[in-house]
Every structure is written in C-alpha cells, then in structure tokens.
C-alpha cells in the first residue's frame, strides 16, 4: 500500500532545495569562522520574527524586494533580463524624494503624487533599454547595467546639489512625516516598527501583476513574445511595442520599490550606493519561479534573512553579511537548478524502479 502525497509542483521542490542548499552553505561559512550555525540560525530567525515589532520590520524589509522581484519577473516573462532594477529603484526613489521634499499637499494627495513620480522615474529607466532593445537589438543586460551606473551618478550629483542633508553631504534631507509612507496607526499596531503603507502597495501590486499576466490580452502577448518572439510576430502581435512596454512596466515596478525603500523603510536617500535590493530582486524572481505569488513568498523569506541578520550579529560573532551570502548562494543554486533537477529525475527513476520490482515480487508470490 502506498500513501499518495499531494503533488508538489516541480518549481516549488527545486526552490525549496535551493533554499536548503543556500542555508547549508551559510552553515558551512559559519562553521569556517568558528561559530555555531545552529545558534546562528536561531538568532537569525528570532531576529526577524520574535515579536510584533520585528515581524513588522521583516515586512518593511521585504517590501522593496517584492517590487524589485516583480520587476525582474515581469521582464523575464517577456524573455528580457532586467538586471537594472537597482538603477530603476534609485531613480524611482530619487523622484519620489524630490517630490516629497518640495511639494506641499495634504498627505494622501502628496503620497499619490510621490507614487506617480516614482513610477515615472523607474519607467524612464526601463523605457530606454526597452527602446534600445526593440529598435537596435541592443542587449538589455548590457543596457540596463549602463543605466544602473547612470542612475548611480545621477543620484550622486543631484542629492548634494539640491537636497543636501543637514549634517552630511552624502545623504538627502530627511523627508517630513507628511511625505512618509509610515503612518502612526500602523507603526503603533506593530510596536514602533518601521512597517509602512508600502507593504499594501506591494501586495496590491502582486495581485495587479498576476491579473495582467494571467487574465489580460496584454499579459498573453507579453508572455508569447517571451516564449517565441518570431511566432508571436507571425501571429500578428506587435512584439517590439511589447518589449518596450514590458521593460517600462518592469522599470516602473522597481521605481515603486524605490518609493517604499527611501520614503517608507528609510527616511532619506544616500549617495554612493547602488542598492542591493535590485540584485536581490533577481534572486527573488528566480526563487519565486517568476510568478507573482512565488515572488511574494520568496521576497518575504529574503526580507526575513535581512531583517534578522542584525540581531544575529548582535548576539553572536557572525558578521551580518551572512544574509547576503546565503541569498547569493541561493541565486547560484537557482542558476544551476539543472543539477538539482537531474538528481530529482534520478531519484524518481530509482523510486519508480523499486516500486516496479516490488510489484513484480508481489505478483510472483501470488503465483
């Protein structure tokens, strides 16, 4: 008699194995530096989950990752690799900060205006590589890398020139409470955590992107261009227009991530940093199998790693970079998931053979 387990989709199995291998690699690095991985992980997860405040912080940390993850995943669906989420996030954050620091409006209106500014900034940074790809067949990976550094230097020179901080030249002025996604009710509910309205923006965007991809003609066309560009063209779809549109939407998503990062999670924008959230977005997207729901869960997981690492560092000797190391290792294992799939296939064949032999033996006995 065999117990029928509910079928777990292949993508989920592979993702879980990648996570396990990533955590295992993290444990090895902890061991190498003479720390106890068991204690390390206990503090890491407690740091992200042990009380309502830290729970809120985990959500706040995960919010930009949800949006950059969606950005990368959305472009992936059209067969485009958006490695420029960092730059798009920076530009979205810069535009939102600029509006937040200069415009005077009631809070709801101001936040909407900042959201639009973030969308515009990110979208512009996605639009350019999209056009270059569609018109000149310039590879989007290289174009978005260049756009990342253009964003980096734009922020580097714009912030000190126009929005210089009170004490430091290397960061912008603090945005006023009225321009922050943080709201008193939510902060109190989570015991002073820096959770903010961004988390709702993130979850709503997940739903929106799911609807666009699964329930609209546009989503169908975008995915068709990703599966086979030439077949889509033959089918009468405007592939070039769709490539531009896909990159622009991807840019806008990362731009909104910048709003949630610099005007919600943080209170100002610093220069000289290419935010890692953009690259983490690639990991989020890969681990989430490029699906909006998968992105949500993997972003929460990575948010947990990031928000817990500080506590772990305070309680143990383990440097906080272990969080980034684990995420990076998980990307590597996702990239090499062929290996995992190969082993899964082997196990499956092995189990299949064994079941077959068992059945044969049982048959023999009956005779």
């Amino acid at each position: 008699m065999t117990i029928k387990l509910p079928r777990i989709p292949r993508a989920v199995t592979v993702a879980l194995i990648s996570v396990f291998l990533g955590l295992l690699a993290g444990a090895v690095f902890m061991l190498v530096t003479g720390s106890n991985p068991f204690a390390g992980y206990t503090y890491l997860f407690r740091g992200g989950l042990m009380n309502i405040e830290r729970f809120g912080n985990t959500f706040a940390t995960a919010t930009p990752l949800i949006l950059t993850g969606l950005s990368v995943a959305f472009a992936f669906k059209t067969g485009l690799f958006n490695i420029g989420a960092s730059g798009q996030l920076l530009m979205g954050g810069l535009c939102a900060t600029a509006v937040g620091l200069t415009v005077v409006l009631p809070k709801p209106l101001l936040l909407v205006l900042m959201l639009l500014a973030a969308i515009a900034g990110g979208a512009l940074w996605g639009l350019v590589p999209g056009i270059l790809k569609a018109l000149f067949n310039v590879h989007e990976v290289v174009a978005t890398i260049m756009m990342n550094w253009l964003a980096y230097w734009t922020v580097y020179y714009t912030i000190p020139a126009y929005f210089k901080g009170e004490f430091l030249e290397t960061e912008s002025r603090k945005i006023p409470d009225i321009a922050s996604l943080r709201v008193p009710g939510l902060t109190e509910m989570f015991d002073g955590s820096y959770i903010n309205l961004g988390v709702f923006i993130g979850i709503l965007t997940v739903l929106l992107i799911w609807v666009i991809l699964e329930k609209t003609v546009l989503g169908y066309e975008l995915k068709a261009a990703g599966f086979n560009r030439f077949a889509a063209e033959y089918g009468g779809m405007k592939v070039n227009r769709n490539i531009v549109l896909s990159m622009t939407i991807a840019g806008a998503l990362a731009g909104v991530g910048g709003l949630t990062l610099y005007c919600g999670y943080a209170v100002n924008i610093q220069i000289g940093i290419l935010p890692t959230q953009g690259f983490d977005g690639i990991a989020v997207s890969l681990l989430g199998a490029n699906s909006p729901i998968g992105v949500l869960f993997s972003a929460l997981f990575f948010g947990l790693l990031h928000s817990g690492k500080g506590f772990m560092n305070a309680m143990t000797e383990i440097p906080p970079q272990i969080g980034d190391t684990i995420i990076a290792t998980i990307i590597y294992f996702s990239a090499t998931s062929v290996l995992i799939e190969r082993y899964l296939d082997k196990i499956k064949t092995f189990m299949g053979n064994r079941a077959f032999k068992k059945a044969n033996a049982a048959e023999q006995e009956v005779r």
């Binding site: 690259f279 970079q321 990307i331």
Partner: protein
Amino acid sequence: MWHTIEFIFPYAITFTIPLLITSLGGLICERSGVVNIGLEGLMIIGSFAGALTISLLWPAMGAGQESIAIWVGLLVAMIAGALFSLLHAFASINLNANQVISGTAINMIASALTVYFARFITGSGNIQIVSGLRRFDVPVLSKIPVIGPLFFTQTYASTWLVVGLLVGSWYMIYKTPFGLRLRSCGEHPHAADAAGVNVKLVRYIGVMFSGAFAGLGGALILVTYSGEFSGSVAGLGFLALAALIFGQWRPLGILGATFFFGIASTLANVSQVVPALERIPGLILKAFPYVVTLVALIAFSKSSQAPKAAGEPYDPGKR
C-alpha cells in the same frame, strides 16, 4: 594646458590599467563563447585575496624586501580569481546555466563573502595594506620630449606588466593555434568540435583567464591607488565590461576604450582642482563612459563584432 595634461596623465594611466587587464580577461572569456558579467565580483575576490596576502606577508619580510609581499599578493589574487571563476565555468559550461544569472551570482557571492570573511578577520570589513607599489621614472625613456613626461614618468612596474600581458594576449589570440581554437569556440563551437577541438576545455581556460586577469585587476586597484580592501571595486568590473563592448572584443580596441574611460574618470576626479574643468558638471564626466557605451552599442548594432556563440551553452547534439 600642457601642464594640466602632464599632471593628469599618470593618474589616467593608473586608473586605466586595472580596467584594461580586467577587460582583457573578459575578452578572452567571451571569445571562448562564455559571457562573463561576474568580472566585478572576480575583481573583488582579487582585491580581497591580494589585501589579505600582503597584510599577512608584510611583517614577515625583511627591511627593503617588502615589495616581494606585494608581488606575491598579486600572484595570489590571480590564482584566487581563477579558482573562483571555476564556479561560473562549471555553471555555464557543464550545466548549461543561464550565464547572466550565474555571473550575477558570482558578483553577489563575491561581495558578500569577502566582506563576511574580512569582518571575521579584521573586525571592520576593511583590510588595509601598509604601502602599495612605488612609482618610478623609466630611465632614458622618460627623457624623451612629449612622450617621456606622459607615458614614462611616475609609472608603476605593474603598468608594464599589464602592457606585457596585453601584447602577449594579442599574440596568443591571433597568432597561436590555441588562439584560433579559442576564437572558433566563440564563433562556431560545433565546427570547432568537428575539427577536434575540446570545446569545454577551451571554454574552461577562457573563463579562468578572465578570473585570473580580473583578480589581478582588483589587486592592482589595491596596490596602486586605493590601499585598502573595502568590499567593493565601485563598478569598475562593469566599466570593464562596457570597455569590452566599446572596444568591440579586440585587444587594441579595449586598450583605446579603457584609456578613454580612464581619462574621463580622472577628469571627473580632478575637475575640482583644475580651473579649466570646473565648469563641466561632474555628472557629465562620470556619466560619459556609460552614455558612450550605449551610443556605441547603437552604432555597432548592425555590425557588431561580438563572438557569435557568446552566451550560448554548447550543446553537441544541436546542429
């Protein structure tokens, strides 16, 4: 004006050299058919390995012998880069992984892991070295008018090493049987395979070249102008990638491109102190290399010299 140029040139060359050697590694790698956007990470590995080796060896060296520590450090950086690049080679050659994702993973692992270990070792995440390479004037040649002050004064020995590697690589790529095999693997691996070339082996060697050269590039930043490992090479790996494209995958092309980027970056850095440059906004000078690369990509889009099979996993069954 002449004084300004004379003042800027040694700095521009110093800045160019790490870019040049990294870009050259990327060239050999892409010519073998493997795209490597992990150059940034490989430079970080080199910078870390170099800083660690030099800071450990320095006290053990006798007075006057310290420069040995630096050269050993550069060698270790090359070895470390080559070994680390095996991760990328394994993923993209054996497992047919997406080379861009694998390269991204290399970048992320390198920057996280090196700082992780640096913090464990020094507590701060930075590793400082006592002193870098010394500048010197090349005898005789530095006395030549015009060229002498520009190219042969205030130079580092490492500059001449890199120039030597550039010439050697050019010879290897275009004049040796191995170079022919390397290029054929990047252009048409099936044909190369049919001619008896071990495509996987050649690609492994190509990737390891990029690891070793990028590692050297990262360590050169350390021993010439930065003096400390800080967990980042500030996007120079990506700039080297841009130079590779702007130079159209040719050794002399990347020499021109990296020197061009070196001058642009130096101008941006010194624009505060040179009156003639004060009026040009820093943003324009800093953004210049990236904009130029984007324009070059558009200009070359019809006639790109990119290796045709770069980025494609080699599948012997696919003809």
